[in-house]
Symmetry: C2
Subunit: 152 residues, 2 copies
Amino acid sequence: MHVTAKADYAVRAVVELAGSSQGSPRKVDDVATAQNIPVSFLENILTQLRSSGVVRSQRGPEGGYWLAQPADELSLAQVIRAVEGPLVGVRGQRPEEIEYSGSAEQLQQVWIALRANLRKVLEEVTVADVAGGKLPKDVLALTNAEEAWQTR
Amino acid sequence: MHVTAKADYAVRAVVELAGSSQGSPRKVDDVATAQNIPVSFLENILTQLRSSGVVRSQRGPEGGYWLAQPADELSLAQVIRAVEGPLVGVRGQRPEEIEYSGSAEQLQQVWIALRANLRKVLEEVTVADVAGGKLPKDVLALTNAEEAWQTR
DNA sequence: GCAAATCCGAGTGATGCGGTCGGAATGGAA
DNA sequence: TTCCATTCCGACCGCATCACTCGGATTTGC
């Protein structure tokens, strides 16, 4: 259950792009320094985001990157999938592919439920939500229960 | 967002233990063949589970492993934490430890919300639930929405 | 004392993570 | 047409983690 640096960077980069003026593209160096991300790694990530259709790019001077869609139509799930693949995997397989036998049979449903609850957050929250500082209220409700902040 | 083989094996092993008679301990080889887990790896895992207090053990002939607590008081979260550490990490840190600045500031709350929703499943489902094939109804509700089984 | 089991730590091959680097292609301006 | 800023692309690299294995040492029951 680990969010990689790449996924974290990807989301932050996209959020940063959402905060820019729509007219002109944003340079990699800009985004990198704004979000404190290693430049050449970010270059890498943005290329991946482009080939997944999340961002567009322009070469040459005055070039750079911008969002391919309006920020309020782009979910965090889309961004993360673009760089990490499937949201959740169990031993490298998707939850619906794995099979258990015997007393652990119900386990598959647990993983499915897990993924469903992950999606509830990541599919709903858009890049615009994060950039604008206004998360959906049911997501916010999850963070308000103070036990949510406890370590365990 | 990846569930490792170790975590999967740990849960299955514990579920298998829950399905045994309470009187006598269960041998590693038994559990391994029942759940199709590599024996020496499982040995490893059970040792970890024991040092976390999830299972107890007995050495010598007639020895083996059994649950340290009633199966209906043991959550999947406890088992997973015993072998994997914290349930969710972002770039190796816990969600409440990381700090963002600028336009990505709200991201921390997203990760917190994510974890909260993960916990909703893993803290609630007990080993007894899985072994008995009766998951809590709100967890089951998550799997009933047919979109839960879709790939995306 | 013997045999059956757990205990324990070290080791191992493959894979992925978190980047870096060197150029090639592209586009705008002079 | 010639710079030069920028993206594009693939290769590479060190390190950690993953998924295991192995060889004994220790405990326990008979």
